[in-house]
């Protein structure tokens, strides 16, 4: 849980309604497509334990069967139901209604950084195109005769942390380089900086992606505001554990005077 949510949760615990007590909650949900749209109000009976996605489903089933919303697992594992809830990028399936301020209208909008398809659904295809440009995993030769490798748990803990990513793209949505400055052509975003870090830190990998990070992927645009880390539903240390170490590798390789000298002598570009 992020600090903000934690504070929010604590603040409203005292005013939590009694168990099994249904209360009416009003929602402002964005309805529309590329051309036009507006917030539409819906009211739903909310009972204990419900998450925001349940409310959206209830609206679909009872009031607006054509309300578009993307979702799959409803357990925080697939990363499909990303949206902006009261302005905060979140997963709808992991947002419990009793963590939102009671007696206030709940605003639900699509992720703002991506082109709108309809209602709460956005076009996230840019992310899939970006991933394809990153050099794939290239392992060293197997260590053992049976084709296996020897790796120790302490050497893979960090990579496993990054591989928890469920590709909800909330980090991409919140990143100001994409959201405000639209640098999609020059910057791959926190998700793919971390994806690159996972490959670079993989004990078996032999590929070199540091040059790409600097020259093509725009790692320099990240000024470490850590918004991505704050919204990550998997609580991955995106900035501290992935992006900063990659920035350090870029610095070591391209800006360290001694390394530069070596490069000149060795004739590397």
């Amino acid at each position: 849980m992020s600090t903000e949510t934690a504070i929010l949760t604590e603040a409203i615990t005292t005013s939590k309604p009694p168990a099994d007590h249904a209360r009416k909650v009003s929602f402002r949900i964005w309805r529309g497509d590329k051309e036009a749209g507006a917030f539409v109000e819906y009211t739903v009976n909310v009972t204990e334990g419900m998450v925001l996605l349940d409310c959206v489903h209830r609206i679909q089933a009872e009031q607006a069967s054509d309300l578009a919303c993307r979702w799959n697992c409803k357990a925080g594992k697939c990363g499909s139901c990303s949206a902006e809830i009261n302005g905060k990028p979140s997963l709808m399936c992991m947002t419990r209604m009793d963590t939102l301020p009671p007696d206030k209208v709940v605003t639900v909008e699509p992720m703002r950084s991506f082109p709108l398809i309809r209602d709460l659904v956005t076009d996230v295809s840019w992310n899939f195109r970006v991933k394809k440009t990153i050099k794939p995993f290239k392992p060293r030769k197997p260590d053992n005769a049976d084709g296996s490798w020897t790796m120790f748990q302490q050497d893979i803990d960090r990579v496993q942390e990054f591989r928890k990513c469920i590709e909800c793209f909330l980090c991409q949505d919140v990143c100001h380089v994409i959201r405000d400055h639209h640098k999609e052509d020059e910057f791959i975003g926190p998700r793919f900086l971390m994806y690159t870090a996972a490959l670079e830190m993989h004990p078996l990998d032999t590929e070199d992606r540091v040059g790409d990070l600097k020259n093509r992927d725009g790692i320099g645009y990240c000024n470490i505001t850590k918004c991505c880390t704050k919204v990550c539903p998997e609580h991955i240390g995106i900035t501290d554990n992935a992006i900063i170490p990659m920035k350090e590798r870029v610095v070591d390789e391209f800006y360290d005077p001694i390394t530069r000298l070596f490069r000149i002598f060795k004739g590397k570009k």
């Binding site: 499909s80 992991m94 490798w149 993989h202």
Partner: protein, 606 residues
Amino acid sequence: MSFTDQYIVHEHDVLVIGAGGAGLRAAIEASAAGVKVGVICKSLLGKAHTVMAEGGMAAAMGNVDDRDNWEVHFADTMRGGQYLNNPIMVEHHAKEAPARVLELESWGAVFDRTKEGKILQRNFGGHRYPRLAHVGDRTGLELIRTLQDHGIHQGMEVFMEMTVVSLLTTGGRISGVLGYDRERGRMHVWKAKAVILATGGIGKSFRITSNSWEGTGDGHALAYEAGAELMDMEFVQFHPTGMVWPPSVRGILVTEGVRGEGGVLRNSEGKRFMFDDIPDAYRNQVAKDEEEGWKYVCGDKNANRPPELLTRDHVARCINREIKAGRGSPHGGVYLDIGWIKEKMPNASAHIQRKLPSMYHQFKQLAGVDITAEAMEVGPTTHYVMGGVAVDGHTQMSCVPGLFAAGEVTAGLHGANRLGGNSLSDLIVFGKLAGEHAAKFVKEHGAVEVDQAQVEAHTRAIMAPFDRPHGENPYGIQQDLQNTMQDLVGIVRVQGEMELALAKIEEYKARLKNVGVIGHREYNPGWHTAIDLPCMLTVSESITRSALDRKESRGAQFRDDYPEKSAECSTFNLVAKKAPDGSMQVTRRPLLQMRDDLKAVIEKMK
């Protein structure tokens, strides 16, 4: 308007429907064979239900216990499936799984490790030795991400958020498929020389399920309509441990890994009730007391497994019995306790969070329960269907030439009950086999023309709900069907209730003719539900008819009116097929004969 104005037409050699583990593995294999491959995903790439798999994939690598080998895995799987499995598939699976797991590592997967730096393996129900390669409790995510990240560089064309509504056949052979895209509601025709179904399961036909909205049995129904056979449909796995509270998360999976790591089941009286009922087939494999069970969890090779690690069908029934007898938890489940291991080890809380991070997170965030300190409330949830498209065990091809299948949509590997962990290995072993043989098929056979009249008839049918804006809401029928299947064809079955279910299914079919949707074709979930409904009805009917005809209790099927196994029923599989008059016919097919050497393996492992 001409055909090409009305439809977006694509052309592939091999078209894979479904992008979970089986579909992606099949697509990778077919691409490697040098044919043109397309993959249709019902959702975005990487979101398929495989991500929900938690505990691990079974492969007899022997990294933790070197007594393990393919023969033990073979015997365990046959025993778990109560000998209705296809032995050819079980043999291939047991022999191939270790190589398929290592292959994932060569594509970038990062499994948890043993102290010696090998792939770590954990205990699971029905597996004699620790056999499940895993990554904490998010193994499915690791599997799908590895296949996805490798697959996108292999040349396959990926179609996201598209749904197939019909398989096209010409002269009895597969010629392509018809579908729509969610974004705009446009109709697409994919011409293909071979089609691989990898569409997963059917859980959405039931009210309480671990499956997402996608699990509507599309592949089962598509195959059935195209003339293929559905086998073993009566065997629906109710996973013993789904969440029961709060109501909105009811059914969400709680991994068997919790029990693999030492979690125990208790009733409201605090009793470990699993010790009370041990099936004969497992009598000499179960711990005599709690102490021995714990030793097994800790890796003592001389100890037998705790009864919580018996097969899923049995554990689910025991839980059901406790709840019915009034010994359940406040919200209608039983208690699953992993926090108790703090009596046995220091730092238990950190250990649990490391071994079961998503369970910890899921309960903390959705139920407000800290599993390191409190017991979870759990109960059975519809999880998996053992039945599916009948295929040739050597090639994965159905009786429709050019139509292949892999993964959950297929029957044969799991028989009457699937062992945990055998599904993920199923995906990669048989995904590969299907991809290989589909590619071979297209190299040996030319293309066939798509029948345009067939395409147009199917299109008219799926557009019809728009002509009835005041027709019945599709969600109403879906809910009624889910209640019917849950209440009348669920974990305990009797003839009268199932006959009532069949009558209700007929009623829903009639109501479906009057279903209406509002809005337009762009990303319209009401319309999509209307299109999914016929698939759910076909699947539900095949489950019910098969369950009625199997007058015995075996594996996942428990009949209150026939509570014992019958010798007669141990000789056949049930096969549902569409008759020429359009009705569903269920017939008995004698079991595939097992080779003598495989019989000898089973004897040796008894």
